[in-house]
Amino acid sequence: MTADTTVSWTTPSAVEVAMTRTFDAPRKLVFDAFTKPEHVVRWMLGPEGWTMPVCEIDLRPGGRWHMVWRRADGSEMAMTGEYQEVTPWSRTVQTESWGPRWPSTVNTTEFIADGERTTVVQTMKYPSQADRDRALETGMKDGAEVSYERLAAYLASAA
């Protein structure tokens, strides 16, 4: 039987968004896949054609992490942050910054064992409810392309 691979999006509090996904592998393996650079560079790549030329992870409280993605067109995107909490195979808490143009978040990743499967809950905490709501309402929830017509309708309904 295969695991349900749907990503579910929830809002645990006014400033948080959580995504939950189940993987068909034991917890220790999944934890390693999320926290060891040699594994991370193989899958945390986003869209087809992206690569990760830089992946540094100092997995301990106070340790820094730094990842750089290179898109198919050669342009790059960087993220940095610091680990606040590391509990092997069950939980990490880290800050995440995309640079001065973006609101930085505090991300908690929990690894929950379910027999030979593992459920991963990634919770992103935004600086304010406004930041979170805008992120959610503009497309994270249904992922549909937000046209200007829909945006206008949304703005009208939210007014």
């Binding site: 990503v7 999944v30 594994h39 304010s128 937000v146 007014a159």
Partner: protein, 112 residues
């Protein structure tokens, strides 16, 4: 308060009156007087909201000193939606790749 462009956009969008003003402007340009009417607000109160929207780059205002019609500029909104859409797609694609990669990790464990 953070002063990066995205935070400024979010802060401007956080107020329901300002969202209503943007919804009205999505239908076409309007003057301060036209914008004041549906909200039962004074001209100065509406002008205050317009200044916030203008600073966030969400509206532009005409040069005509008397009327200064307001026009919606959706560029910052596009940045917000691209950020949110891109984020969701990033994890969908990555997680699918991880499914396959975990299978390989399991095989390597078994080989040991």
């Amino acid at each position: 308060m953070a002063d990066d462009p995205l935070s400024i956009t979010f802060a401007a969008l956080a107020d329901p009156t300002r969202r209503a003003i943007l919804a009205r402007l999505a239908e076409g340009a309007a003057t301060v007087k036209e914008l004041s009417e549906p909200f039962a607000m004074s001209g100065p109160a509406v002008s205050k909201h317009l200044r916030v929207l203008e600073r966030a780059g969400l509206i532009t205002r005409g040069r005509d000193a008397q009327w200064r019609p307001c026009t919606l500029d959706a560029t910052p909104l596009r940045e917000v939606t691209e950020w949110a859409d891109g984020f969701r797609r990033f994890w969908d694609d990555s997680y699918r790749r991880l499914d396959a990669y975990l299978e390989r990790m399991k095989e390597q464990e078994d080989d040991r």
